[in-house]
Each structure stands twice: as C-alpha cells, then as structure tokens.
C-alpha cells in the first residue's frame, strides 16, 4: 500500500472568536487531525460544537490562535514556506453552510464561471468547465441562464456546490451540503462524492447532520463537542459507542439505535449495523434459531 499523503495537518489547534473583546467566544480546543489524499472524513456533532469553525480553518479563511495548521500541497506556499491565502482557497474548495452566502452573480452560468475565470482559464475552457460541473450536479442547461434568486432552495444549493467544483480543488470541504436536497439528489450527491474521490483522488471533508450518509461515505468520522474532538474512528466504531454519543448529545443512526434497542430486549447483535440491510441481516440471524 502506498504511504498516506497528508495534504493538510492540524496540530493542537485552538481558535477563539472576538479575542480580547467582551464577546470573546472560544470555539476550538486542541484539535489535531490530518487530511489525507483520497480520504473522505466527516465531522459530526451537536449544533455549536465547532464544526463550521474548524472547516473555515482548513482553507485559511480563519487562522488558528494557537497550535499549527500546515498545507502540504504543491504550489500553495511561497518561497518561505508560508501559505498564500489565495492559493490555499483555490486548492481547498469550501462550500458554505448557506448557499446564499456563496452565490452572488447575475446568472447561474456566471456564478459557476467565476472561479475558473479568476484562475485565468480561457473563455473556451471556462465554458467547458461550467457545462461539465453543471451536468455533474444534475443541473439542466436552461437553469444556467436563470438568475439564482429564481431557483428553489435545493437547486440553489446544487449551484453553490457546482461553483466550488468548477475551481477543481484538491480538497473539497462541504458544510452541510445535503441540507435542502431531496432524497434522490442526496443519493446522487453521495455517488458523486465517491466518484470524485475515485477519479480525481480528491479528499473530502464533510460536515453533515445526515448521519446515514456520513456513515456510508466516510473513511473516518470525527465527533465534536464543546470545540473538542471527543471520539473518532470508522463509522462502525463511532456508532457503536452509544455511551459517548449520548454523553455529547450526538445523534445516532436509526439502524444502530434500533439494534441497541433489540439487543436490550435480548436479541443477539453481532456487530453494530449501519444500514437497514445490515440490521435485517442481524435480525434474521436470530430468527428461527
């Protein structure tokens, strides 16, 4: 197996909003984690636990006030080895929690074209990229010429994601990307993420409250509470630790929670199921024996 290629590393990072002001608010403490090429990781946790804040550090939108964050990707640092913010932002594509914060051009086309143009692509290249990313996100050609304000909530979210994909980032950071998407679009988006990882070796960091998707897609899940990472591991490891999840008011996935209930009623559950299919398998193992 090839060695893991770390693209971004965080060591003992802390962050405080409004430092020195009466409204000071410490949001992150002692965060250490690596973003590895080709890995999908999820951040989960209660509202206010610091997920969005952590995500904003990854593309240098905010800088930590203690600890260290390093970008190891080619071409994002200057001769002195210091990160150049513009380059970091291009390499680490961030999709905001609210698409309205991101989509601001007159037409959907212009909006998706904005990033590629900034990066110096020719009009022909830009057009190709716009059409390709729109297709990836399942946006009809006719939508490209509408103004973003005429779109439904879910469609606007797809446009915001397309705008970031068009910049061809190496790390894709998504803050609640499925919020507002209909169930089939969520499935489509999940396959798209797997495809991007497969074809482009993209690393993906996702904050999602849609825990079933976090479980299905992630190589590793980090659980946050009160600005700290309180639990991490594979989906199965994390969702097996019911006590920790309860302690930090982190949601559970239905398959795991029903399994726990069945186990409490005397059913034998071999390993924590993550899907309805796996749970059905566990139930059928008990049945008839």
């Amino acid at each position: 197996m090839p060695a893991k290629e770390v693209l971004i590393s965080l060591k003992n990072v802390g962050f405080t909003y409004n430092r020195g002001l009466p409204t000071e608010c410490a949001a992150l403490f002692d965060i250490s984690l690596d973003i590895v090429r080709g890995e999908i990781i999820s951040l989960i946790g209660h509202t206010g636990s610091g997920k969005s804040t952590l995500i904003q550090l990854l593309n240098s939108q905010r800088m930590p006030d203690c600890g260290e964050i390093r970008w190891h990707m080619d071409g994002v640092c200057d001769e002195k080895g210091l990160p150049v913010r513009r380059r970091v932002c291009a390499a680490v594509g961030l999709v905001f929690q609210y698409p309205e914060d991101q989509v601001f051009e007159e037409t959907v086309y212009e909006d998706i074209a904005f990033g590629p143009r900034q990066m110096g692509k020719t009009p022909e290249e830009t057009e190709k990229i716009v059409f390709r990313t729109a297709e990836l996100m399942g946006l009809d050609k006719q939508i490209l010429y509408k103004t973003p304000f005429e779109l439904s909530g879910g469609t606007l979210r797809k446009v915001a994601i397309a705008g970031v994909l068009a910049m061809e980032p190496r790390v894709l950071v998504l803050d609640e990307p499925m919020a507002g998407l209909d169930p089939k679009s969520c499935d489509g988006f999940a396959s798209l993420l797997l495809g991007l990882r497969e074809c482009l070796g993209l690393s993906i960091v996702m904050v999602s409250h849609n825990l079933e998707y976090s479980a299905a897609l992630s190589d590793k899940i980090y659980c946050m509470s009160g600005g700290r990472i309180v639990l991490s591991g594979t989906a199965r490891e994390v969702f097996s630790d019911r006590a920790k999840l309860d302690e930090h008011a982190i949601g559970v996935i239905p398959a795991a929670s029903v399994a726990a209930e069945l186990a409490a009623s005397g059913m034998k559950i071999e390993k924590t199921p993550l899907t309805a299919e796996e749970l059905a398998g566990e139930i059928l193992n008990n049945y008839g024996k």
Partner: protein
C-alpha cells in the same frame, strides 16, 4: 381551515412561462398537521408562499378560514393568522440579542410588557434556547438560529404555522427536538401546521401527506398509505422510503411479514423495536 380551489401559479406572465403550481385542489382542516414533500423545484415553497399572501394565485383561489387570499382587505388579517418559518433563518433574525429578537414582533403588536415577557419566555423555553436569552444572535451557530426563528413565530401565537424545511440545518438531535416541538404545537396549542420536509422519517408524523410533482398534487392522504405504495412509486417523486418502512420491507421479502397496522405503528420510531420483537416471537 386552508382551502386550495383549482390553484395555478406562475412567477412570470410571459407567453409559455412555466407553471410552478398547476390546478391544485385540496383542504387542510383546522388543527391538522399536513406534511408537504416532493422533489427540488416541485413547488412546495411556492405553495407555502400562497398561504400568507406573499403570492396570490394566477388562477383559482386560496382561502384561509374562508378568507380569499387575493382580496386586498384580507391580507393583514391573514398575515396575523399565518406564522411563517422560512428555509433560511438568517433572513428572519432582526434582533442583536436573542430575547429582543423574539420580543420584536409582539412589541410591534403593542402588547403589554408582562404579556411580551410571558410570550418570549414561552417561545424560548419551547425551542430550548431559554438558557441563551441574553446571547448575541450573531454568535449563534446555524442550528441555533433556526430554533430562534421558530421561537420568533411562536411568540406571535399564530393559528396556522407554516414551516419550510425547518430542520434542514439542524443536527440529528436538534431535528428530533423540533419534530417533537411541532407535535406539541399541534396537540397542545391546536395550531394547524404545514410542514415542508425532505426527511422521510418526518413525513410520517403528519395527519395528511401532500406530494407535489412539477407543480401537480399527486397525492393527498394518509402518510403510511403513500409510503406503502412501494419504492418504485415513491422514487418517481425523488423520494425514498422512511427507514422503518425500508427495514420492514426487507424483512418481508425474507419471510417475516408485517401487516398494515405494523406499518402505521412504525410511523413512530420508538415503536419499531417492539414491532420487530413481536414479529420474531410469532415466527419462532
């Protein structure tokens, strides 16, 4: 009582402009909880905007407690009756401090100080933000803002509460707490609730489910019966089975069969374990 009578709507009057809603006729009774589902762009938010006169039908009529939404003299009466929680709470927050934000609308009604205080406490308690009443709203995270938006509307004591994806930005526990809150609002306060959601689990809590497709109402009836029509039918609308139904269906295919009443009971996730234990005991 909400009545849609042959309602069509389009955002532009130009020749050939598409209809966002097409010939919709349906009723939502007083005290009912109606859940609206459908693909992105199917017309759910448009339907909601017709309820508080933000939009008026291009053809047909919407009546709120018998009042025609297209008659100018009804607009303010209807807006007082119908509380609205939009998709994005950011646009609804007006105060810099949590309690002031919730007090804003009741203050505008000119209510006495004690009544305002009572409503603010009630609303913040209901949404679980009572401990943050002196917090700056700008410092709330996304999910906390969403709850604040709901509190702001509850403080107006509306007859009808329309929620357009109120849980879209909440973590799983926050979502459950809001769903419990919605049920409480319906059961204890007898408020008519219209809930738009993409969470199929939550679509089951309604007394009535309405499914839109390209502006047409394709279903209006019992939620469990809709999802029992099977995966193929539902996927036409970009929807999926709720987890409980998916599980019961898989078990059914493998020989543990469930009756319709099991599906109805399974609409409450707390019942699912008991239903399965019962079926496994019977099968032994």
């Amino acid at each position: 009582m909400i009545e849609f009578k042959n309602v069509s709507f389009r955002y532009s009057n130009e020749e050939g402009a598409p209809y966002a809603l097409a010939d919709i006729s349906l009723n939502i009774s007083r005290g009912e909880l109606a859940v609206v589902v459908g693909a992105n762009g199917s017309g759910k938010s448009t339907m909601a905007r017709l309820l508080n006169c933000l939009l008026v039908p291009t053809a047909g009529k919407v009546f709120i407690d018998g009042m025609d939404t297209s008659a100018d003299e009804n607009i303010w009466k209807i807006r007082k009756k119908v509380g609205f929680v939009f998709q994005n709470p950011e646009n609804q927050i007006v105060g810099t401090v949590v309690e002031n934000d919730v007090a804003f609308a009741p203050e505008n009604l000119g209510l006495p100080e004690s009544e305002i205080e009572e409503r603010v406490s009630y609303a913040l308690e209901a949404v679980g933000l009572i401990g943050r009443r002196e917090f700056m709203t700008a410092h709330l995270s996304g999910g906390q803002k969403q709850r604040l938006a709901i509190a702001g509307v509850l403080a107006m004591k509306p007859d009808i509460l329309v929620l357009d994806e109120p849980t879209a930005m909440l973590d799983a526990r926050g979502r459950d707490s809001i769903i419990r809150l919605i049920l409480k609002i319906k059961n204890e306060l007898k408020i008519t609730v219209v809930l738009i959601t993409h969470f199929m689990e939550n679509a089951l809590i309604g007394d009535k489910l309405i499914c839109l497709e390209d502006g047409f109402a394709r279903y209006a009836g019992a939620p469990h019966a809709f999802f029992m029509k099977g995966g193929e039918f539902i996927s036409k609308f970009n929807l999926k089975q709720p987890f409980a139904y998916e599980l019961l269906n898989i078990l059914g295919e493998r020989g543990i069969r469930f009756a319709e009443r099991d599906y109805i009971r399974a609409s409450d996730p707390a019942q699912l374990g008991a239903i399965i234990m019962g079926a496994v005991k019977n099968a032994r």
